[in-house]
Subunit: 412 residues, 4 copies
Amino acid sequence: MVEETVTLEGHLIDSDILKKVFDRVVQEGGEFEVVEFRVGRTNADPSSASVAVKAPDPRALDRILEGLAYLGAVTAALGDARFAPAEADGILPDEFYSTTNFDTLVRISGQWMAARDQKMDCALVLREESPCCVKQGLVKAGERVALRGQGIRVRPPERSRDYSVFGFMSNDISAEINKTIAIRGSASEMRRAREAGEKIVVVAGPAIVHSGGDVALARLVRDGWVDVLLTGNAFAVHDLEKAILKTSLGVCQMSGRAVEGGSRHHLFAINAVNRAGGIRKAVETGLVTSGVMYEAVTKGIRFVLAGSIRDDGPLKDTITDMIVAQKAYVDALRGAGLCLMLASALHSIAVGNLLPARVRTVCVDMTESVPVKLSNRGTLQAIGLVTDVGFFLERLAAELSGPGERPPGTEG
Amino acid sequence: MVEETVTLEGHLIDSDILKKVFDRVVQEGGEFEVVEFRVGRTNADPSSASVAVKAPDPRALDRILEGLAYLGAVTAALGDARFAPAEADGILPDEFYSTTNFDTLVRISGQWMAARDQKMDCALVLREESPCCVKQGLVKAGERVALRGQGIRVRPPERSRDYSVFGFMSNDISAEINKTIAIRGSASEMRRAREAGEKIVVVAGPAIVHSGGDVALARLVRDGWVDVLLTGNAFAVHDLEKAILKTSLGVCQMSGRAVEGGSRHHLFAINAVNRAGGIRKAVETGLVTSGVMYEAVTKGIRFVLAGSIRDDGPLKDTITDMIVAQKAYVDALRGAGLCLMLASALHSIAVGNLLPARVRTVCVDMTESVPVKLSNRGTLQAIGLVTDVGFFLERLAAELSGPGERPPGTEG
Amino acid sequence: MVEETVTLEGHLIDSDILKKVFDRVVQEGGEFEVVEFRVGRTNADPSSASVAVKAPDPRALDRILEGLAYLGAVTAALGDARFAPAEADGILPDEFYSTTNFDTLVRISGQWMAARDQKMDCALVLREESPCCVKQGLVKAGERVALRGQGIRVRPPERSRDYSVFGFMSNDISAEINKTIAIRGSASEMRRAREAGEKIVVVAGPAIVHSGGDVALARLVRDGWVDVLLTGNAFAVHDLEKAILKTSLGVCQMSGRAVEGGSRHHLFAINAVNRAGGIRKAVETGLVTSGVMYEAVTKGIRFVLAGSIRDDGPLKDTITDMIVAQKAYVDALRGAGLCLMLASALHSIAVGNLLPARVRTVCVDMTESVPVKLSNRGTLQAIGLVTDVGFFLERLAAELSGPGERPPGTEG
Amino acid sequence: MVEETVTLEGHLIDSDILKKVFDRVVQEGGEFEVVEFRVGRTNADPSSASVAVKAPDPRALDRILEGLAYLGAVTAALGDARFAPAEADGILPDEFYSTTNFDTLVRISGQWMAARDQKMDCALVLREESPCCVKQGLVKAGERVALRGQGIRVRPPERSRDYSVFGFMSNDISAEINKTIAIRGSASEMRRAREAGEKIVVVAGPAIVHSGGDVALARLVRDGWVDVLLTGNAFAVHDLEKAILKTSLGVCQMSGRAVEGGSRHHLFAINAVNRAGGIRKAVETGLVTSGVMYEAVTKGIRFVLAGSIRDDGPLKDTITDMIVAQKAYVDALRGAGLCLMLASALHSIAVGNLLPARVRTVCVDMTESVPVKLSNRGTLQAIGLVTDVGFFLERLAAELSGPGERPPGTEG
């Protein structure tokens, strides 16, 4: 038997994490003893546990310790992280460390440095002397890539202990919860993000327009509640069709009836906007005078349209190359504190992949499957709301932008 | 080849029906010719088609004609319907005719008589000299049961041609339609049913309470928009729990948090209401002072609670025997002109089975599956709305009971 | 500040439970300290934690301790459970204790006695000197009903630590897991239940027949893998329609085409079976010679058909009163070790309500919603499989009843 | 009143189409009379109807006739199609005609010419003297674009009258149909496509790999049943991860357990394949020796991987620019007779947008929503199967590639 004592630290070290440690040790035929267990009394005071781990042989102990490192356990003795150069553009050394979406520290010359641009499924690359999460395909030949093993430490995920909506609704993904409370909680989180100077990001799917929720979203943009809009070609097209022709997929949005020849309306809208030179120009020239994209342009907020194989057109504003589009999403997400993911499986999961776990997310969809997928990503600050996105947006706008109320910090 | 000329009649005889006739004939190896085709110009003026049918032998022609009878085709020469006695209580003669949910005429002594209590999957039984749709299990020994074959005629289903919401939304079952328009259309239908003196029936599932839609439903009841409430034990229990303890399944409806010991709240509510002697008494004694059931009792509208194997309690008001509960539903549905089916797969499909196809239905559910099942029942006056029932009810109540507005014919 | 030291005990005391304790204490404004923490080394060796709890006043401490009692924490000083008589049939004293689905101990004259018929949302009633879980509606006037507070202890739920499929798949509810592995794991559990002499219960929905899974289920019954079949009228009707007429809802099960006049087939089948005197008689007289119900009768296994408001017929075997049907389900579930819940929201949730948490369950459904609901019930030995029930049954039967293989203990 | 007589022609002219004509005319305040109605006796003999249409003024008549043109009605007097030049690359004249997915004829110098590359939501562009469906974004400045109005004729859609599975299952989208029959029908269609020399296209989503259906799909490719594989980066990555590391998303495909460090496996697989120089090279060098991609390379069938914003990596083979990917899909779809769309909302709808309505499609998904969306596209040769894709593939492979059976025309 070889033995090593590991320390776990974090606000909720007493929770799932501890169980996982034990499971890991037992699976490897090891033994363990809780040497000390200290529970943090306040939010600012993290818990810690000291666990003595024994294993039948050094290899097994290594395997245990590697596993525990992923869980945030820190062994007493730790070396620096090891690096190897990328063999070619986009080609990593096989022993590359793959990131999670939890904040990560890398030990370089005895110092723990926080990784920049934390996101999952990336390589950790040394850039400008500090570790940075870089998508595999964007690593350049010769860049120094961190290898798995010693010197990399992940902060254990923490569930919010405070009285926010994330504190008590994080585990529920069901259509059968009181939506009023959940939406009010989302509104509080938006106010809180505003006050904290964090960005509020909206990921939007085309169902918002089809189901009539675009009016409320436009209002939220106009009232300053949205800093970044991440979406695809389709959402913008339907929003613009509605602005220009008052239809959505050829269905009149006043009467609900299909309009004669309406099936060409979205192509007509694309044509008109592209002729004008894109969305900003279409707003400036007066072609587009309402809708979410209009408000986004007028308000000057950042929007990114990522293309997809499904697109018609596309709009000139749509980024058709996915590598470029991902980069644009990553840029736009910097500084995000809260992310609303609204009725778009494709873009919500894309953004979920690009966000650090610490960013609070509210995922609204008509079925459980998208929220379930996102919650499997390990974030503990996520709410899944199974409801109609049109309903969500209307109620959210009413909560935030009711008569007389203005979001803080907006002059609008 | 034997030949017979059949006539089809109805407003939309030109549609699917005609195709089905042709398919039927061709399948039997027959031939046919459209002798005459007259298209009705107005809603009051039905279309008709006269089709000469040939078949290789008399048996095949019989099979064709039997098939066509189901589709509303009437042969020139027709005998009276044939009857045979039920062998025992609940036991039909094997050749029994099984009803559809379309209005049915039965030829007795050369006269076509309309069947009473039209609903699907019933026997046609002669009661008080006239034909009546009776559930198999309720047929008494010796009663005269109609046999399939001649003398029974089903009116072909008709799609609404007018400008109601049923006219243009009947085929859409999708989350991606403009809900505002569909809900506004539903409100118009309710006003129209009111003006026509037809009953408005609401079928309610417990998700209404969990998702916070009960407030709006209570308002609709109070304002006189609901004549009959068909539901189960669970809906009433959750509504009463909320009225008595301000929680739903132990979750506080103000804060959204689970209440200490809240898992017993619904049992507590059942206990309290049953101790009082049932729902009406609980209202009269002041135990229950709000909620849907409170409004239903106060307004004096009819409600039926059908039990299920899932029930806790149950409430004294819940009918635990399903035969009795079905009868109570059937009684309550008489005179129904419009039926809102809200977030209850079990009760919605039960009611769908008991309604004639002519009753307009609006089915609201979070997934496509219930609306799809209901639309397979053949009604052409049905809308399926894939949305959050809480949203639907709030918006419907706002449409119908906005400030200053009162439903016609209510003194409340 | 008042203080009391509580002890928690169980195999996974280190897990979620501990976190819940802390949350509870903090919510009440209390403080706590982990006095001792002992981790069980083996499955037979439970973990325990000793936690000193302080609260601002005695009332708050009481509230904390009551909350902890639900979580399995035992205070050092404990009195006997208190009882009060039921006021009337079905009417409990307001302070009644409401059961969970975890095994429960009741302290009577200083002795801890295990409650019989453990299931959730029941009263704890003294019958024959021992505590028994009784549905509210079945409690008789004057029976002694346990009150909440001291003297009642719930064993904390435990997640399986062993290498069964329940050990590693319990948290996944998704269509995107490897079904082959999950089905193979389910088969292992069935073998294990057989070897342990536990009953295997199948809860069956009508979609089994519609989707063609009935052939495999019949084979499982024939090969002795099913001890109890809990279902409703519809499943049996469709199974019998197929046995007698080779159609399901009038659709030929060879060609997939609707059969002329097939919409009356299920009524015809009910009629024929009821005329014979019920399902057993229909098998004995040779009317029914195949199918799941045929195998169940031939094999002599117990089946219970619970009625519902949706039923046609019903079959003579269907229990139409829900109180009676629930009792029959409860009786049939005694001794259950494993429960397969197959494509029936209604009956699966009903059975979920009646089962102790210790019974292993496999829930198969096409959508996430039923498995999600069941997993919210707190069982840790549950797998949710989002797949086609026909697929599940075929593969399960192939695993269990492949050529040359026989389940242990069957002579068939 | 102005009047014109229009002729409709097609096998099922008697069906929905006729109703739509009447609805259209009535909506515009017009009148109509069925002058002649001829029903085709055989599959080779189309039906036709001659309808006299009256309208209050020439403008209304124009609107009616334009509407009827979309439905396949042909007026007696018809001019040539009109064209105008594209203003710039990707910018159409505003009066552009927008294509449907039905076969389209364009009248040029008095001759009706069939459009090439029929697909919906395209411009009709004159290329090499014949009309061609071109995506808006691909139209070049100055190319002649057809304008809506006269000279364009759409063949009315036809429902299959024969005894194929498309003939009787086209309207069912439900989990509750007999899958065995539907899958057997799909197998027949594949044999039929083979015999007709048509291409069989498979659109594949990553859930195929997660749910274990990849083995069967690999077998189908190996046995020559697949001509084209259209998918995205994720499907290929998961397939390759399984081939190289025996895991899927880090979950061991033998045991179902998460593998230590498995979350980096898909990145490792991408890295290894890209280092080899792409999928073909990875197969040639022996890195990849099993799986769907392996069989595709070995068999030499065409595959196209379209990128998405969600991608990791991506693989070198993945086309990251959506314009280029769409072109590659369009090229690969030429000559398609049957298309299986398997568990991919994104790619299935993309392909649905690119296919002419005449191509038979089988869409397999776990929920109704994708099949419902596809069926709204107007194809009458589509089956929607709500089932587990793993099940579908296994059963399909068993039907097609059972022992001793070989697809015609394969030497394998």
